[in-house]
């Protein structure tokens, strides 16, 4: 069985990506911030399957126990003025085991009529965002796609223009990495399109 590094070497070669070793993007999104500086290792970068330019790789960190993710990251800077923070996280996903604080930053749950979306994801945003923009992004078509197309363990975070898609599989194969990148590309494209309308 190939190691994780070997899988990413093969993935880079077959998808025309550049092996990037270990990358430290910094605490750009909540998930990356949980890592306290942990790198994406191994990482590949270039035009990801799905068409956006970005980085994909393995991201893990230890907070009492080790949490492992595979992530795809791209940028949609034009979204920052409409949605500084938007998190669509798989219901029940845990990203730390040592959270003992009783207070956190205020956020708003995104309300939609879709029970399927609510059952699958917790969708939150920063308070005081334009509700019309959010309603337009979460159109019935996008909601339907979100609950049917992405892998079951998929979540995405949009923070200040950075889109991070993540799956929780420990050793994904090329098909699973493709799915992660394609779904994240689609999410980023929809956010970009909505930002330009």
């Amino acid at each position: 069985m190939p190691t994780r590094a070997e899988v990413f070497q093969i993935y880079a070669r077959e998808r025309g990506l550049e092996p990037a070793g270990a990358l430290s993007p910094g605490p750009l999104t909540p998930l990356l911030a949980e890592g306290n500086g942990a790198p994406i290792d191994p990482a590949v970068r270039g035009e990801l399957p799905g068409g956006v330019t970005g980085t994909a790789g393995h991201f893990s960190y230890t907070r009492n126990k080790t949490f492992r993710f595979h992530v795809a990251i791209t940028e949609v800077p034009e979204s920052q003025q409409f949605a500084p923070r938007l998190f669509c996280v798989r219901e029940g996903r845990r990203t730390r085991d040592d959270h003992f604080y009783g207070f956190g930053a205020r956020h708003s749950k995104v309300w939609t009529e879709s029970e399927a979306l609510s059952e699958r994801y917790t969708v939150t945003t920063s308070p005081y965002q334009d509700p019309n923009w959010m309603r337009q992004l979460f159109s019935p078509t996008f909601i339907d796609w979100l609950v049917t197309a992405p892998p079951p363990d998929y979540s995405f975070e949009l923070a200040y223009g950075t889109v991070l898609g993540a799956i929780e599989e420990d050793f994904p194969g090329l098909a699973e990495l493709d799915a992660l990148c394609r779904v994240t590309s689609e999410v980023a494209s929809r956010i970009r399109t909505e930002s330009h309308e």
Binding site: G26, P27, L28, T29, P30, L32, A33, Q80, Q81, P84, R85, H99, F100, Y101, G102, F103, G104, A105, R106, H107, S126, P127, Y128, Q129, A159, Y160
Partner: protein, 143 residues
């Protein structure tokens, strides 16, 4: 700031055990220590409840500004961290506010933010802002 499930659990824990300590029928020095602990624990729970109520009142006021206020933009001029609370940096921001119909002005603001937000607070960062129609110095920053 808003309370989360851990906060509700802590209030229930401190309040419940604090009351139990106060009611436990033990006399002597041990009983006195338990009662003192009970007072402290109930006090902690009461403080947290008061804090939550104030945060909720603030949120209601901010919601009113969001619905009734003037939308503008705030450009970060300076940002520095003045400590942390619950692993969240307390950020001191200097902002240039531009609100339609009002004179552009410089203002300072302290906000407790998650790390991934705090690291974005660099000079030039533009944020949305809603200003109270009653008081130009009363505004909410959208981050």
């Amino acid at each position: 700031m808003q309370v989360n499930k851990v906060g509700i659990f802590l209030i229930a824990l401190f309040g419940g055990l604090g009351i139990a300590f106060l009611l436990v029928p033990i006399g002597g020095e041990a009983g006195g220590i338990l009662k003192l602990m009970g007072v402290i624990w109930v006090g902690v729970a009461a403080f947290m409840v008061v804090y939550i109520r104030r945060q909720k009142q603030k949120a209601v006021h901010n919601d009113w500004i969001f619905n009734q206020g003037l939308r503008g933009r705030a450009t970060v001029v300076e940002a520095s961290s003045g400590g942390t609370m619950n692993e969240m940096p307390i950020m001191n921001l200097v902002l240039d506010l531009e609100v339609p119909g009002q004179e552009a002005r410089r203002a300072s603001r302290t906000e407790t933010m998650p790390i991934f937000t705090a690291t974005r607070m660099v000079p030039g960062m533009v944020l949305g802002v809603y200003v109270s129609p009653k008081d130009p110095s009363d505004y909410i920053l959208v981050w």
